[in-house]
């Protein structure tokens, strides 16, 4: 007979173990990314996912492997959560040919066709119609696959979102729109951009099923996603979920963060999504300190392997310049 504590949990030990290790990998990977960025091994813009891990973890557990995913430039954790070996993400940020986008995309343009991750997009809001379009294709082709289209809170003020929402709803496209509301778009708080602070309500203008979700709790994310994904799969169209979350680090690696207080950051860190999972697991007797150490060690090995792989890989050869621009192999480029 199961222990009392165990009965309380809706999800299995295995599920928790997966969530925990997946989120831990995202966290440690991003911490390392921050370190090597400071050492100038990674250049350009670089946006860390630390604090938001529960959203990807709960999304992955609520979708199947044929489903499609697309997001903005804060994109390192998504493919890792979907199962891409982190070394291909690290190598991409190192601008190496072995990176998942051959060193051509960098931090903001992580892609993995193998894992149905359609990228990393740099124009705020640009991926929202794309997500609807990916879902359009699934519907057209008669699959039961769903597209999960993520965005930041800044993106909801773009016109593209409103046009896409309207069509996605009118045409009942199998898409789940997720806004990862980490409260800031660069230095601008959600409150300063609109009178509508409950972002989920924007979906209501299009009669789209919409609701707020505790994005710092993986179980809540999973449950909300499960419902939304089921709706899309059975042909009832899109959902808009406002995942309330927080980013621990600056917007990008160069951000003095004058727009928020240290206390605010500390307050949110008390609700850390990974700590919550550890708590639940401990209460159920599913993990002890040794188990945590072992998980940390496994994750550290993966992260170290990723850095080593990235360090040792070569940059793309200059001959790569005229590849991957057109699907035609013999496109006549203007050479001068």
């Amino acid at each position: 007979m199961a222990k009392t504590a165990e009965k309380k949990s809706k999800f299995s030990k295995e599920q928790y173990m997966k969530w925990y290790e997946s989120m831990l990998l995202m966290r440690r990977f991003e911490e390392k990314t921050g370190q090597v960025y400071v050492q100038q091994k990674i250049k350009g813009f670089c946006h860390l996912y630390i604090g938001q891990e529960a959203i990807v973890a709960g999304t992955v557990s609520a979708t199947k492997k044929e489903d499609k995913h697309i997001t903005a430039y804060r994109d390192h954790a998504h493919p890792i959560g979907l199962g891409l070996h982190p070394k291909y993400v690290m190598a991409e940020m190192y601008a190496k040919i072995t990176g998942c986008s051959k060193g051509k995309g960098g931090s903001m343009h992580i892609f993995s066709k193998e894992h149905n991750f359609l990228g990393g997009h740099g124009i705020v809001g640009g991926q929202v119609p794309l997500g609807a379009g990916i879902a359009f294709a699934e519907k057209y082709l008669g699959t039961d696959n769903v597209c999960v289209c993520s965005m930041g809170d800044g993106a909801v003020r773009q016109g593209a979102l409103h046009e896409a929402f309207n069509m996605a709803m009118t045409w009942k496209l199998p898409v789940v729109f997720i806004v990862e509301n980490n409260m800031y778009a660069m230095g601008t708080s959600v409150e300063r951009t609109s009178n509508v602070h409950d972002l989920w309500k924007l979906g209501l203008a299009y009669d789209m099923p919409s609701k707020p979700v505790d994005g710092l709790t993986v179980e809540s994310v999973h449950e909300a996603m499960e419902e939304a994904v089921a709706r899309a799969r059975r042909g009832d169209g899109p959902t808009f979920l406002e995942m309330k979350t927080y980013r621990y680090k600056g917007h990008s690696m160069s951000d003095a963060q004058t727009y928020r207080t240290k206390e605010e950051v500390k307050e949110y860190q008390k609700q850390d999504p990974i700590e919550k999972v550890i708590d639940t697991m401990k209460k159920n007797g599913w993990i002890d300190d040794a188990g945590i150490e072992a998980a940390e060690a496994r994750v550290k090995a993966l992260v170290d392997e990723s850095v080593q792989f990235a360090e040792e890989s070569p940059y793309p050869d200059p001959s790569e310049l005229y590849k991957d621009v057109y699907a035609d192999a013999d496109y006549p480029y203007i050479l001068e």
Partner: protein, 326 residues
């Protein structure tokens, strides 16, 4: 003379014009409370207040259009794009509204607006954040397009742009904002549409503009060491183009190389090449050559950036080609 950064020169131009004319205001993402994504507008909110230094949501199409509407109704907006890559979200209002209003209203409504921000590449930012759109905007009648290469010019040209009664696209560079230069405290204005001969020379003309002018200047210095005298022209404005200055130089040097960061097809270099062959055909002693970005989206990797962007080596080689010295 005092030395200030490029970003300060821009800030002074905007602030002076705002003090002078109460209808001038600044609007864009992070321009007010954050003091500008690249600190160009630092301190301006404190001086002018939130009525005139306005933070917008990330909604380029909306705020560009609001700017154009305000400009048709008595105001002189300065609209900042965080970079011109994002101006593509707004381009409908720039091309279909700002550039057309005076013409389609038969001269009734002019649009005195400035759209400004950084253009072109700025390090390893990959393809969506590295685009040089000077020629795109220059292609469109109704607009003026200014691309300063240094802080002194930027200040004088931006003041002209703000006072101009037509829409002006004003394109800067993240990589120039920290450049320091002597800029006088006294007020000055530089008219739009007038090129600047940065260096006089006799053997070859090199035409360039914006950030990449540095490449042209460095190439000229390199060539000087080998006894080749290059005349370097900074266009400063790519619509209208000061053709006369270019043609007169080519009539003297008989050879022309153009250096620009845009992609080659239908670029400013294509346009200048057409004009020079038409107006100075008999003066040319060699085919015109150009150095542009490679005909591809700019990738992230440093090896590919190096192979793509105009540089001194390629420019020196192009000059030697037109001198038949390779």
């Amino acid at each position: 003379m005092r030395v200030i950064e490029f970003r300060e020169a821009l800030r002074e131009a905007m602030s002076e014009e705002m003090r002078r004319d109460s209808t001038v205001f600044l609007m864009g993402e992070e321009v007010a409370e954050y003091n500008g994504a690249y600190k160009v507008s630092k301190g301006m909110l404190a001086e002018f207040g939130p009525k005139r230094v306005i933070d917008t949501p990330i909604a380029e199409l909306g705020f560009a259009g609001i700017g154009v509407g305000a400009a048709t109704n008595g105001l002189r907006p300065i609209v900042e794009f965080m970079t011109f890559n994002f101006s593509l979200v707004a381009i409908d209002q720039v091309i279909n509204s700002a550039a057309k209003m005076l013409s389609m209203s038969g001269g009734q409504y002019n649009v005195p607006i400035v759209f400004r921000g950084p253009t072109a590449s700025a390090g390893m930012l990959s393809s969506q954040h590295s685009q040089a759109f000077e020629n795109w905007y220059a292609n469109c009648p109704g607009l003026k397009v200014v691309v300063p290469s240094n802080g002194y010019d930027a200040k004088g040209l931006l003041k002209s742009a703000i006072r101009d009664n037509d829409p002006v696209i004003f394109m800067e560079s993240e990589q120039m904002y920290g450049d320091k230069m002597e800029v006088p405290e006294e007020e000055y204005i530089i008219p739009l549409g007038v090129a600047d001969v940065k260096k006089a020379g006799t053997d070859v003309t090199i035409v360039s503009f914006g950030k990449i002018l540095k490449v042209a200047m460095a190439a000229a210095a390199e060539l000087e060491k080998e006894g080749i005298s290059a005349e370097v022209i900074d266009l400063r404005t790519v619509r209208p183009i000061d053709y006369d200055t270019v043609i007169n130089s080519v009539k003297k040097t008989n050879r022309l190389v153009i250096v620009e960061e845009a992609w080659p097809l239908a670029s400013i270099s294509s346009e200048i090449t057409f004009r020079v062959q038409k107006d100075a055909f008999d003066y040319l002693d060699a085919p015109i050559r150009r150095v542009t970005s490679a005909d591809v989206p700019l990738p992230y990797a440093p090896t590919l950036i190096e192979a793509s962007l105009p540089n001194v080596t390629r420019t020196v080689k192009a000059v030697k080609d037109v001198l038949y010295k390779n």
